[in-house]
């Protein structure tokens, strides 16, 4: 089920509360019983759907009997990693790393890795030597035991190793102290690590506080870094190094389960033959819930009625399996395994068994993280289906979820769920799309239309209940719909190359695949930084986290003066404007000036340096030159950009399409990662914020833009920089100048200026705008040319108002205007067009769907404080019919109608578009004109004409047509309804017509002379409507995939939804009017 969740963007994780389990399985057994022996917890159960039985149909290809486990090397593509703390035979706790993956042949693997100990560092006092270590160890251990209390008796020998090592801190260049002493402390479990670190930091050990290093890094990431293992890499266990897991069948749900000591495991760098991916299995799912009218489904009240599953293999587009689990009977669906149940708990269990039997590596769907999966878990808990929450690859591990807070700059903080489904990566396509794309709406409808270029049938949940309550055929109808919704996310994943791109991002940044979605952006840089630092003997200090200013939502972007732009000289430029761009500006600044934690010199240390050894940034911060010490960030960036060059080169050479996609995914991942490094240094709530670096970067950037402007204007007399953005300047080389010439000058200027900047800073000329409409800061549009023969596209920045509370009319008019201005270069045409639209709007000729605004009801109506149109409308609709009124989570579409009195506020005049269509309610055209169209259009036209307000006044605004409310509605209910003459609109006097012996009531006696003309006119309208009716309703049948069933779709995002409704009414009226022309002889 696709429920709109609040539309958010730029997720950034702010905090992850440790204990926040939601589903409570109060009387679930401590250990999950073993399945395979039949399901005994409900009478009349369907024993056939055990995991074993389902494996027969849906299982992975069997491991060949010839495979001698342990004796030959085991090679697999790792997809997920986690760790579990276990108590060993000697009574010690230890953290076992678990690596999950798939072999090249598609067999699933669980690899338990023993012996890797968590460790961290503290700065050692200068006078420490080896002799102190043992007493330090004892002091730490005893303090830990004291603080842990009785239940932590394992803490008695928690500290396994303490050693003195020589390292450096990554922070600051210290002229005198190259190489410092640090104590490396190894413990048995990550929890002990945290405990030890906190005690040391807070001064509980040896009565002194210690500075911590490398202590906050996740255990799994630490392991991966030390093994040089990146996300989604191929892992090899040499022959003889590993052993089959004893009792594998009892402990794991994978086909191959082995144990290995951590030293033996090797990971291949993801290049050449290790670029490929194993045949990963993807399970896409969608659930439908029984709905009560007007109420969002609640897991303790509303049943799960269907679960549809679509199984595919990565790289293959055809479905491997399709299955649907239904409550109550369901007629057969060709090509789909249909399993029907009388008992909902059995249904859930069968789905769970199916999931284990299919054994997917990736679980996907649309909004499954915040709807489908939590609903299933909560519902199972409510039904006490205690064997349900075991969906992962570890047999006895209960699937758990917890809330985590994600915050974004635009929408504040939101809760999201995180799941522990061992060995399976949850990749919710809604989260992927929210992270990667900025859209007007994130409903599955809009997303499908945006990326798959098709409209999705949308069945409202009130109809879902009706279908469920019907017979096996209506439920089949529902199942087909549900299957489609399970298939769409998989298609989106394929189309957007989500898995490919995320795999490459995991490989490039070195983090496990699932972290990319479940954790914030910064973890990628953390991984990169630690990987590089570890290799060169640097330690990352763990600074106390700054408490984010509460409620601020953790906007983690830099908080200081950002990149200023050169003031735009607004206007409509009809000559070519060259754009000079700095390629990868921020990364290249960091490299050029060696800006890094490890090169930053504290002010007190500066005087000890020779002047030629450092540079001072425009803000006064000092960084040593690479000749003294090369910054680690520079090294990271160099490697990323170098790899990107290689990836781009390989991509150009690649012939296989899949390989091309992978390499493209990689080069994009590398670019994203390079840009993230700057953001990491500036993230105030991040792990290692360093404003000296980030502020210096932007300061250098501003300086370079200024320098470019001055240089260009002095190099080319008559040239003028009309605008400068963060990393580009727009140059007008002259008033009357050809495009070819501008392109040549642009290339020349870029090359000349590049020589003035330190490498690798590079100014590039790649494009010119011609013509160019500059409106204001960050708002411009133009035709973009990269070669003089043909323009590439129309490029708009900050104009096409994607604001969610706008109606479609705005975006459509704006884009049509821009096309007229830029492509046709027809200013008068654009003005005429706007006037026409304004006039049509006032005459009520604009299609209603263009005027619809929709907003999601995100909380109960009562909980809204501010008066909002959609909330007000919901209240109104509830009074009208409680049953069909929108409920929580529903999108509420509305239009603004004319008020009964002058002082009705706009929000009070929101009305249901369908109601408006059916009753002919007059639209408040003036509202749309003033509040929707005026501002964006005036903004554009202010660059083109002197008095843009003329667009909204004048002759074309005089003709106003207000729809008369339909007879029988509202105020006209009691007025006598009189026919109007089709010709002159005068009232028809039927008695007079009869006296004159005239039949038919279409025309008054006066208009009879022109009867054929009026008939033709009326007929013409009717014929147009017939064609429209036909085109619209057959389109819906085609989209729905059925012609014998009624169209039920209620997808208000679809451009034809309201048209389809309107034409029914219009054509009925047209036919009625035609019938008034007498057909008597």
């Amino acid at each position: 089920m696709d429920r709109d969740s609040p539309e958010v963007e730029d997720y950034e994780e702010v905090s992850v509360p440790e204990e926040c389990e939601l589903a409570e399985y109060d009387d679930a057994p401590a250990e999950a019983p073993l399945e395979g022996g039949g399901v005994e917890w409900r009478a009349g159960t369907s024993d056939r759907l055990t995991v074993e039985a389902l494996r027969g149909t849906f299982g992975r290809p069997p491991v060949p009997s010839g495979f001698r486990m342990g004796q030959e090397a085991l090679l697999f593509n790792q997809t997920a990693c986690d760790y579990v703390v276990e108590r060993g035979e000697e009574g010690h706790e230890s953290a076992v790393i678990r690596v999950y993956g798939v072999t090249g042949e598609g067999h699933s693997v669980l690899c338990r890795v023993h012996g890797f100990l968590p460790y961290f560092y503290v700065a050692a006092p200068a006078d420490w030597d080896e002799s102190v270590l043992e007493s330090f160890r004892e002091a730490l251990e005893s303090t830990m035991a004291k603080f842990a209390g009785d239940e932590r008796h394992g803490a008695a020998d928690a500290v396994v190793g303490v050693s003195l090592v020589e390292r450096r801190s990554v922070l600051y260049y210290r002229p005198e102290a190259e190489g410092g002493k640090f104590v490396r402390i190894a413990v048995r479990t990550p929890a002990q690590l945290r405990q030890a670190a906190n005690l040391l930091r807070d001064g509980h050990v040896m009565r002194m506080p210690f500075e911590l290093y490398d202590s906050t890094i996740d255990h799994v990431l630490r392991f991966m870094i030390d093994k040089d293992m990146v996300g989604c890499s191929w892992v090899e266990l040499p022959a003889g190094s590993y052993t089959p897991l004893p009792d594998a069948a009892l402990l794991s749900n994978t086909q191959i389960a082995v144990e290995v000591s951590w030293e033996w495991l090797t990971s291949h760098a993801p290049t050449k033959e290790w670029l490929r991916s194993a045949p990963l299995r993807i399970l896409s799912l969608d659930i439908e819930c029984a709905g009560r009218k007007g109420v969002f489904p609640e897991p303790d009240k509303d049943s799960v009625i269907q679960i549809a599953c679509h199984v595919s293999v990565y790289g293959g587009s055809a479905a491997l399996h399709r299955a649907v689990f239904t409550l109550n009977t369901c007629a057969m669906i060709p090509g789909v395994h249909v399993y029907s149940f009388d008992d909902e708990a059995e249904l859930l269990q069968a789905f769970r068994n199916f999931c284990v039997a299919v054994d997917p590596d990736i679980l996907t769907g649309y909004n499954i993280v915040n709807f489908d999966l939590p609903y299933l878990l909560n519902r199972a808990a409510h039904l006490r289906a205690s064997r349900f929450p075991f969906l992962g690859r570890v047999r006895l591990a209960r699937t758990q979820m917890r809330k985590t807070k994600m915050s974004s700059s635009a929408f504040g903080t939101h809760d999201s769920m995180v799941f522990s489904i061992e060995g399976r990566v949850v990749m919710d396509m809604m989260q992927v799309i929210i992270r990667e794309y900025k859209l007007r709406s994130y409903s599955l409808n809009s997303v499908a239309s945006e990326f798959l270029d098709e409209q999705k049938e949308d069945v409202h949940y009130s109809i879902i209940s009706d279908l469920q309550a019907g017979n096996e055929h209506t439920r089949r109808r529902l199942a087909v719909y549900c299957l489609k919704d399970a298939y769409l996310p998989q298609r989106l994943m394929e189309k957007l190359l989500a898995l490919t791109n995320y795999t490459e991002l995991a490989r490039v940044t070195g983090v496990p695949l699932d972290w990319l979605l479940s954790r914030g952006h910064m973890v990628k840089v953390v991984s990169l930084l630690h990987r590089k630092a570890t290799r060169v003997g640097l330690l990352v200090p763990d600074l106390p986290r700054k408490q984010g200013d509460s409620g601020g939502g953790g906007d983690s972007g830099p908080q200081y003066e950002g990149a200023t732009v050169i003031e735009p000289k607004k206007g409509f430029y009809r000559m070519p404007i060259a754009t000079l761009d700095f390629a990868s500006l921020y990364p290249s600044i960091m490299m050029a000036h060696n800006l890094c934690y490890s090169t930053l010199v504290r002010e007190s240390d500066v005087k000890r340096l020779r002047p030629e050894d450092y540079v001072r940034s425009p803000l006064g911060h000092c960084f040593v030159r690479p000749t003294v010490r090369k910054g680690i960030l520079s090294v990271i960036l160099e490697e990323l950009l170098q790899s990107r060059k290689v990836a781009k080169r390989d991509m150009a050479a690649a012939t296989e399409p899949f390989l091309k996609e992978v390499l493209n995914g990689r080069q994009m991942a590398l670019k994203i990662s390079a840009n993230a490094v700057y953001g990491f240094t500036g993230a105030s709530t991040g792990k290692l914020p360093c404003m000296e670096i980030s502020a210096s970067v932007t300061a250098f950037g501003r300086q370079m833009i200024e320098l470019t402007k001055n240089a260009v204007e002095s190099m080319y007399p008559g040239a003028e920089v009309v605008y400068g953005d963060t990393d580009s300047v727009m140059v007008k080389f002259g008033d009357d100048i050809r495009l070819e010439r501008v392109m040549a000058l642009g290339a020349e200027a870029a090359a000349a200026l590049t020589r003035r900047f330190p490498p690798p800073v590079k100014l590039e000329f790649e494009k010119a705008y011609f013509p160019y409409l500059l409106i204001s800061k960050k708002r411009y549009a133009g035709l973009l040319w990269t070669r003089p023969e043909q323009h590439d596209k129309m490029d708009c920045k900050g104009i096409e108002s994607v604001r969610r509370d706008n109606c479609r009319l705005v975006a459509n008019v704006v884009s049509a205007v821009l096309r007229k201005l830029l492509v046709d270069q027809d200013v008068d045409g654009a003005i005429e067009f706007v006037k026409r639209v304004v006039s049509e709007l006032l005459q009520n000729k604009i299609d209603l769907s263009l005027l619809v605004v929709s907003k999601t009801l995100t909380r109960d109506v009562e909980k809204y404080e501010a008066k909002q149109a959609h909330v007000f409308l919901v209240e109104k609709l509830r009074k009208r019919d409680r049953g069909s009124a929108p409920g929580l989570g529903d999108r509420v579409p509305y239009v603004i109608i004319k008020g009964a009195t002058k002082d009705e506020k706009a929000y009070m005049r929101a009305e249901d578009p369908i109601y408006v269509l059916e009753n002919g309610t007059p639209i408040d055209a003036q509202y749309y004109l003033e509040n929707m169209l005026r501002k964006p259009l005036e903004r554009i036209f202010s660059a083109v004409m002197k008095r843009p307000e003329q667009l909204f006044s004048g002759a074309h605004t005089r003709s106003i047509h207000v729809t008369a409310p339909r007879a029988g509605s509202g105020i006209t209910k009691f007025a006598k309804f009189r026919l109007q003459c089709v010709g002159c609109r005068a009232a028809i006097n039927e008695a007079e017509l009869a006296r004159l012996g005239l039949t038919g009531t279409a025309l008054c006696a006066h208009c009879r002379q022109r009867e054929p003309e009026w008939y033709r006119k009326t007929l013409h309208q009717a014929v147009a409507l017939e064609k429209q009716y036909n085109a619209l309703w057959t389109q819906c049948q085609a989209c729905m995939g059925s012609c014998v069933q009624d169209v039920l779709c209620s997808n208000g995002d679809c451009p034809i939804f309201y048209r389809r409704r309107k034409v029914q009414k219009d054509i009925t009226e047209a036919y009625a009017t035609l019938a008034r022309f007498s057909d008597a002889w």
């Binding site: 089949r476 008019v813 096309r819 007929l1019 389109q1035 059925s1042 169209v1047 036919y1071």
Partner: protein, 448 residues
């Protein structure tokens, strides 16, 4: 006698031969029965149209073999079974109103009309009330003649991927012959013997009434030309299969013609009538003179139009059905299209999918319930006529229903398929001898 503007007396032919005629449009539901005034309910969706069509054709199938069929939801895996359903052809090239609106809603661009919308990416589905399944046809050629909206029986086996591997596609049983006319209507000559001389119906379509050629034809048919009078006298009725327009010239042309000879006027795709099938007859307002009762013998007919003339049953259209079938299939000849329509038992199966029609509630009026003897369509690029023979229901055994193409069944009915050319372009009309069902081309340009 009517006169035209020039005071010229029209209809100089006296003793025009008579042929008994009944208009069966209302009986077939092409026009609403009088007084009923049934306005189509547009709040009714097209699903009901398909539903009625499927249910009725299924009965046709089941009359021959009541128990031979299963619904799509009952198709067993592994063994062959037979289902009856509506064919739906998914065609990427098919015009889409969504595509039209997807671009710029403010300035929608209607899609370019193509001569043919078939592509190799077309997929064929069969659907009944219980679901829709894709067909896996034995050869690509099998889908060439198929169009959306036809009801067929398919024998096949369910495949792993859910598609139905087709072993056999079956047409519905042929429509039964109409009951014989109540009395023998064959005209007798004065001496009481059966008149065996040729007796003609003249078929025309697409007339430009302002063209000289049209005047020539008018003068010929009314006898004003004074030539070929013995034959002209034997033309008992003129059928105009669409497209004459509603100009004054058209009104005059029809008034003059119908004053001399009975005329059936079908509306065509460019005529001013409602476009939804069945198309309503011309409104009298548009033809004030030609439609004057008592003065002319003009029958304003629906499209499609069905009538009985000289004891022969006719069914025909002004050609949009044939044109549409040919655009959405690989059928290339109009007679083959007509033949297929007869076998599909539907005048216009592509309605509503690609041909505009009214939604119906109880009964699909466009189904062919009785076999005509002449099945015609107008506005063809070229004249064509072909007599085909179809097995009558009683002659079809339940097992070899599909064999009708190859083996000659015991009892057959012949139907004349007649493709009426555009007169404006070709200058040709068709004379059909009602006695023998022989056809000849009448070219006014070639007259002596």
């Amino acid at each position: 006698m009517a006169t035209d503007e020039n005071g010229r007396v029209a209809g100089t032919v006296t003793q025009r031969a008579h042929a008994a005629y009944t208009n069966d449009d209302a009986e077939c539901g092409f026009v609403e029965a009088e007084g009923d005034g049934a306005v189509p309910n547009f709040f009714q969706q097209y699903s009901q149209t398909y539903f009625c069509r499927l249910a009725e054709v299924r009965r046709f199938f089941q009359q021959a073999a009541p128990d031979a069929y299963v619904s799509l939801s009952e198709v067993p895996t592994g063994t062959a079974s037979t289902v009856i359903g509506v064919i739906y052809k998914q065609m990427p090239l098919k015009p889409s109103v969504l595509r039209e609106y997807a671009g710029d809603v403010m300035l929608p661009v209607p899609e370019v009309k193509r001569a043919n919308y078939v592509s190799d990416e077309d997929r064929v589905f069969i659907e009944d009330e219980t679901g829709r399944t894709e067909l896996c046809l034995a050869s690509a050629g099998d889908k060439d003649g198929l169009v959306s909206g036809v009801v067929m029986a398919v024998r096949g086996t369910q495949m792993e991927d859910g598609r139905l591997r087709v072993e056999e596609l079956r047409y519905p049983p042929t429509a039964p012959l109409p009951p014989p006319p109540p009395s023998t209507t064959l005209p007798k000559s004065a001496d009481g013997s059966v008149d065996t001389e040729p007796l003609y119906a003249c078929f025309l379509s697409d007339i430009d009434p302002t063209a000289a050629r049209a005047q020539l034809l008018l003068d010929y048919l009314t006898g004003n030309l004074g030539i070929d009078l013995p034959r002209v006298r034997r033309i008992a009725r003129v059928v105009i299969a669409g497209n004459i327009g509603d100009s004054d010239a058209a009104d005059a042309f029809l008034a003059n013609l119908a004053a001399s000879v009975p005329v059936d006027l079908l509306p065509g795709d460019r005529d001013p009538v409602r476009s939804a099938w069945p198309q309503r007859p011309f409104h009298r307002i548009l033809l004030p003179r030609a439609a004057t009762p008592g003065k002319t013998a003009l029958t304003r007919c629906s499209n499609p139009h069905t009538f009985t003339l000289h004891g022969r049953r006719f069914l025909g259209t002004s050609g949009q059905n044939v044109d549409n079938l040919m655009r959405f299939s690989r059928v290339t000849s109009t007679t083959e299209a007509l033949h297929r329509l007869l076998r599909y038992r539907h005048v216009a199966p592509t309605a509503p999918d690609t041909l505009v029609c009214q939604p119906v509630w109880r009964r699909d009026p466009l189904l062919i319930r009785h076999l005509p003897q002449v099945f015609f369509s107008g506005n063809a690029d070229a004249f064509a006529a072909q007599t085909v023979s179809l097995p009558l229901p009683s002659a079809i055994s339940s097992t070899d229903a599909a064999a009708m193409d190859t083996a000659a069944p015991a009892e057959c009915a012949s139907v004349l398929l007649l493709s009426v050319p555009r007169y404006a372009a070709s200058g040709a009309a068709v004379l059909l001898d009602l006695q023998t069902l022989q056809v000849q081309l009448l070219r006014v340009d070639d007259l002596p």
